[in-house]
Subunit: 341 residues, 2 copies
Amino acid sequence: MPSPERRRRPSGRITLSDVARQAGVSPITASRALRGERGVAQDLVERVKQAAAAMGYVPDPAARALASQRGTQVPVLIPLLSNALFVDLVDAVHTTLLPHGYQPLIGITHYDPAEEEQLLRSFLAQRPAGLLLTGFDRTPDARRLIDTSGVPCVYLMELSNTPGVHSVGFSQQEAGQAITAHLLTSGHRRVAFVAAQLDPRTLQRAEGYRRCLRQAGLYDPKLELLSAQPSSMRLGGELLQELLQRHPDVDAVFFCNDDLAQGGLLAALRLGVDVPGRLAVAGFNDLSGSDQMLPPLTTVRTPRRAIGEAAARMLLSLMRGEVVPQPSHDLGFELVVRGSS
Amino acid sequence: MPSPERRRRPSGRITLSDVARQAGVSPITASRALRGERGVAQDLVERVKQAAAAMGYVPDPAARALASQRGTQVPVLIPLLSNALFVDLVDAVHTTLLPHGYQPLIGITHYDPAEEEQLLRSFLAQRPAGLLLTGFDRTPDARRLIDTSGVPCVYLMELSNTPGVHSVGFSQQEAGQAITAHLLTSGHRRVAFVAAQLDPRTLQRAEGYRRCLRQAGLYDPKLELLSAQPSSMRLGGELLQELLQRHPDVDAVFFCNDDLAQGGLLAALRLGVDVPGRLAVAGFNDLSGSDQMLPPLTTVRTPRRAIGEAAARMLLSLMRGEVVPQPSHDLGFELVVRGSS
DNA sequence: CTGAAAGCGCTTACAG
DNA sequence: CTGAAAGCGCTTACAG
């Protein structure tokens, strides 16, 4: 019995009403059944789900977002994509969030709090379901936006003890201290620190380096070579050369990131500097290729994939309205001692 | 004169109606003014825009998508994020699309057509404004989904001559042929091809390699070392070693990707194989670090950022309903001859 | 446990 | 050039 007046559905889309009609229930019941809301008779749930599957029904996220005042988007704000660290982080977040029906939205801040604030404004206008932000370096306005939005938020890479703040990461400072301590333990006395970009986390590692050397009575500020340029292998090579020229007595270097360290290692090879005999080299993050260097690079393995996954899971809990038992989730780090030190 | 019954707006959101009221026009006129639709008196446009700015109005993407039956999302489907090539591509797409109000959505296919089809289904249900897809290797169902959706689509990395198909890339085969020809020109006769992943574009490069060697009467299928494993520096080193063991007479290698080639170069250094004296090495893509190798890596520079940007611009035209003058946009490639060959 | 009504915030025809 | 009406496809209270 065809309906007397042919409904023209311009979109050609199968809607919730179609599914409901097919299953012989009201659209509201169909909606509840499909969303797994409890309080619907089991047989109805089955009927609705079967009808939906048979008709190939896919809910409309826009309609859902408009009606429920909450979308499925989860903006993930990171400084840049050119550091493999953040690529791994984003990849893990993606893998964790997507199966739960959430859509990660990548935002690139270029380490600029003003850019981040701008991104936050436009993302927040989209009623995101949650927020994943890198670190704690942002404008007061950005902080206010986040707070007043009421959108659940988890911070990545660094840890906070502030009540109500959720974070997954590790202590950048302790990691910097640990790798420096390793260089001291292996007998080095003139340990340099070479860094680029100079973002907040790099500076925390620098602080760990300083603390360690101060405790040993070996701190010499002249052995810090800091460049605000973006990190790269090329720059690492240049900085190593500069370091050796300025301070021929240096016997070890801690590079704040593995790309710099890899470049430094290759430069040493080119310059005929014996590593680790004449100079020990250590990096940070254990990026791809570090184990292939000549000699293989000693570094700190950071659990960025685990951080991405754990943060996404924590956010999932928050979005469900659950209370998170461990709002400051420390995933630690691991010293990886290879041939370069 | 306050309205007698206080409208409770649970969202607290400033809506188009608020702006319209403030500007003294109807919501429809405000909508048209804000979207820059022509046919609105100039003074009204100004008044509306001013009101919107003053009130900090931000349009609701969900409502807009629902009403207009077209969202602002642009799914970008790529094989994976662990190849720097695709990271650059995505970054360029992002940078180009975002200022125009479109939201790129990353989808990872893991080189699996079935996964891609699945992603396509769920993305298409979101009424995307456009689609950016990598290559042409997909299921018939996926093709049909794309066609029947009517969503504008641009294909990345490869070129197509099919009418109505829009693509931005370069000839993978010609690039493979060109780098092989370079190795021949510099006097090598036993030129190997080492590849991993074996995705469609890698196989096209293989075809270029074969064609070049066949033309020179030097093709020997035994000199092809193909691994389906994911590409990495480590694997490159292993494959180089295997190649030299099996075929000690090889005098040149073309690696299908720079990460393999970098690993191969470092393995050669470790093994004491003189490059390029005993063995010439060439890579593909000119990834970060290739210029820092020892010796620096000869490779093919691929314009992935330019491809991302050009494809995004082409899609922007299509989404505006414009006709694209050059639907198959060849951005070429560049031979970068360095010390390794 | 189920449903009729209303509404989320915008835009698409259709009038005038 | 401007607007009143209807509707996009869902879900949120509110009844029963």
